[in-house]
């Protein structure tokens, strides 16, 4: 779905979603790169076009495809990282392994 609004209207609409629009007037006769400004549940992509006569047109396109995380209530996350324990256990192993209870004071003249 694609709609064309006046620049002021889009600014108001986006501001209503709690998002500051990043709309920068493009140089005369060029088309600005579209910028995604929506981070709400219904994000939009905004682009601004400036004609040779100086008229600016802003277009907002609603993003229709969004990746939604699976609900933890239905698929629980059971991935627990245990690698740190392995590292610490190795550290303990090293010092414990270096203890020599058979060492003697037998180097005296």
């Amino acid at each position: 779905m694609r709609r064309t609004f006046g620049a002021a209207f889009v600014a108001l609409a986006v501001a209503g979603c709690g998002v500051t629009p990043a709309v920068t007037p493009a140089p005369e006769g060029t088309v600005a790169v579209p910028t995604t400004v929506g981070t709400s549940s219904r994000p939009v992509t905004v682009s601004t076009t400036t004609t040779a006569a100086g008229t600016t047109t802003t277009t907002a396109t609603q993003v229709t495809s969004t990746t939604v995380a699976a609900s933890p209530a239905t698929v629980p996350d059971v991935d627990v990282d245990l690698s740190e324990l392995d590292v610490l256990l190795d550290e303990v192993d090293q010092v414990l392994g270096s203890i020599d209870l058979d060492e003697a004071e037998g180097d005296l003249p």
Partner: protein
């Protein structure tokens, strides 16, 4: 005494005086060191023996000072030792180093074999750097690292418990995971309890307590740490088992 007997006794005394062992005992009266390049024959052997003895004693002290340096470095660089244990260990190492340096000065200044015979054994008996101080320091470092490790294991156990709770709320069978978690927590407690007992038992040990009771205490502490390590390994396995059981329970739905 007849003239013949007098001659025999005099010859005997002369022989004794020229043997190294007997001369060694009278080294206090001998000149300290002959001039370089001067051949003074057997007369200076006792002095050379005394100097060689001193050199070996000073080397023995130096080896202990080097060991103390390494132990200090290990204590200072440990990320797990408690501040109280660190201070106590460093203070003991400092005292030992100062005492050994003082002993080295006394040995260097000794002029008789008699003095050396009294001083040299102190290198071992008054400090016990190799048999007592070294294992004591390492055992405290390992014990504190294990107590720290127990905290990390507890954190992992909490995460696993949370995951089990989420899976249970979602309707999955978590009985196997719960059993593994219970095993894990029990082993962590066992390991932590063993490790916590080590510093209070070994820190008060002094060289004068060697070998009894210090040697036995050091060995028991070592055995406890080995047992604690074994418990931690069991806890780690139980943690893996719990996570694996959860994944198996969730099957294709899970991660």
């Amino acid at each position: 005494m007849t003239r013949r007997k007098i001659v025999t006794v005099a010859l005997g005394l002369a022989l004794v005086a020229t043997t190294p062992a007997a001369a060694f005992a009278q080294v206090g009266e001998a000149p300290r060191r002959p001039a370089e390049g001067v051949d003074v024959g057997a007369d200076v052997r006792p002095v050379r023996d005394l100097e060689a003895l001193k050199a070996r004693a000073l080397e023995a002290i130096d080896r202990r000072l080097q060991r103390i340096d390494r132990l200090e470095e290990a204590v200072r660089s440990s990320e797990h030792v408690t501040p109280e244990h660190r201070d106590e260990l460093l203070a003991e190492l400092d005292r030992s180093a100062a005492g050994l340096r003082d002993l080295a000065a006394q040995i260097d200044a000794a002029e008789t074999a008699e003095e050396l015979r009294e001083l040299i054994p102190k290198i071992a008996t008054d400090y016990r750097i190799f048999v007592l101080v070294t294992p004591k320091v390492k055992e405290v470092l390992v014990a504190d690292a294990m107590v720290d490790l127990a905290d990390r294991f507890d954190e992992a156990a909490e995460k696993i418990a949370d995951a089990i709770e989420r899976a249970a709320e979602a309707g999955y069978d978590v009985s196997e995971a719960e059993a593994a978690l219970e095993r894990m927590v029990s082993l962590i407690d066992q390991a932590e309890s063993l490790a916590e007992g080590v510093p209070p038992s070994v820190l008060p040990l002094t060289p004068s307590q060697w070998p009894d009771p210090a040697q036995g205490v050091i060995r028991e502490a070592h055995d406890d740490l080995v047992e604690a390590r074994s418990a931690f390994r069991g806890a780690r396995q139980a943690a893996h088992d719990a996570v694996a059981a959860l994944r198996a329970a969730i099957g294709d739905d899970g991660v």
